[in-house]
């Protein structure tokens, strides 16, 4: 029997649900972002000093990092989903899996570092 007829679970309900939940969280955080941004820095974050001041609030730091994590998760799961649409070979998919996890983790670490760095400059 051809392998195509035996289901593989490269993207099952779990990963898919994660993408949707992350997507909905983005909407939530984006709303929160606008509200907090408006309350904390009504004039916008157009200068370095503004940004640093903004990051003095620990809620902001936590929120921005969480936002980054859901955005990265959603977009990278989405990228993987698009890749799956192209019916990749197992080797390509394995490479993509590793690449996405590595880049995603790196982006989150980098973002976290950046946020903490700015916060520490207050």
């Amino acid at each position: 029997m051809r392998e195509s007829l035996s289901p593989k679970r490269l993207e099952g309900s779990g990963r898919w649900l994660l993408k949707i939940v992350a997507g909905l969280l983005i909407v939530f955080f984006l709303g929160l972002h606008f509200v907090v941004n408006h309350l904390v820095a009504p004039g916008g974050l157009l200068t370095y000093a503004d940004v640093v001041a903004y990051y003095q609030n620990p809620v902001v730091v936590v929120m921005e990092i969480a936002f980054l994590i859901v955005v990265i998760s959603h977009s990278f799961l989405g990228l993987r989903s698009i890749l799956l649409d192209l019916n990749p070979s197992p080797a390509v998919l394995r490479f993509a899996n590793i690449a996405l996890v590595v880049i995603g983790t790196a982006a989150v670490i980098y973002g976290t570092w950046l946020a903490l760095t700015i916060a520490s400059r207050g």
């Binding site: 195509s4 007829l5 993207e11 309900s13 779990g14 990963r15 649409d85 019916n87």
Partner: protein, 253 residues
């Protein structure tokens, strides 16, 4: 017919097996209310005996004559010429997409039928089940007398698979008709096996909600609705299974 016949330019995809395709042009006087399949049959009978095409029932119950008419998937047997072109207009006829072309307008439905078979698709069901759940017919008489059967709506014509943007690139995607069949069978008799057939990367989660399948379906199966319904069922089942005690899990498996 009171109306004058129309002059229509047929542009038909032609391909001998293993050779390069080309477009054959043919101008025909047609009755605008003539069905496209009848026109094709006439072209074969009177103009070009080498043309190959699939057909059987000529009234949308067999699903053999699916083809693309001016780019859009149609059952040729119930599509009138009037509905797709005008007098002096063009009529482009292509084979379905996402199926291997055997020759001209004939595509190989083998794997698709095998997948339908695997989903356990039953072409006859109780009347109650054969319709879409959201349009259940009114029970017109006492229930006891109304135990009737029905040939179900899906005629396995493949139009939905041809129109689907996901099937367009992923040859492993089982496609709308098969997922609809799984939903249909699951609604009648839920089983873990059917869930497993749907819940994988080439199944339910490959759908990207373009709703083309429902748009082109000639028999109102609404495959997109069925895919979404099956998603709901799979997600509910998976979430429930987290809270289900292990002993019960075994029982259900």
């Amino acid at each position: 017919m009171t109306e004058q016949p129309w002059q229509v330019h047929f542009k038909i995809y032609r391909q001998r097996s293993g050779q390069k395709p080309y477009i054959q042009t043919l101008t025909l006087a047609v009755d605008p209310d003539e069905y496209i399949l009848d026109a094709i049959e006439r072209i074969w009978a009177n103009h070009d005996r080498t043309l190959t095409y699939r057909h059987a029932c000529h009234h949308s119950t067999c699903g053999a004559c699916g083809m693309r008419v001016n780019g859009c998937e149609k059952l040729a047997c119930i599509t009138t010429i009037r509905s797709v072109t005008q007098n002096g207009g063009n009529l482009r006829i292509d084979p379905l997409r996402n199926f291997p072309v055997v020759s001209d307008l004939v595509v190989d439905m083998g794997d698709f039928f095998l997948r339908m078979n695997k989903s356990g698709f039953d072409s006859v069901a109780l009347s109650e089940a054969a319709c879409l759940p959201y349009e259940k017919p009114k029970i017109l008489m006492d229930q006891a007398e109304q135990v009737t059967e029905r040939l179900v709506d899906c005629i396995e014509c493949g139009l939905c698979i041809s129109a689907c943007p996901a099937a367009n690139t992923d040859k492993e995607y089982v496609g709308p008709a098969v997922l609809a069949s799984i939903q249909f069978m699951y609604a009648q008799n839920p089983s873990q096996e059917l869930i497993d057939q749907a819940d994988h990367h080439s199944g339910l989660w490959r759908c990207h909600s373009a709703y083309e399948c429902t748009q082109v379906c000639p028999s109102g199966v609404d495959p997109a609705w069925r895919i979404m319904d099956m998603r709901k069922k799979v997600l509910t089942d998976r979430i429930k299974s987290i809270f289900r005690p292990r002993s019960q899990e075994k029982k259900n498996a």
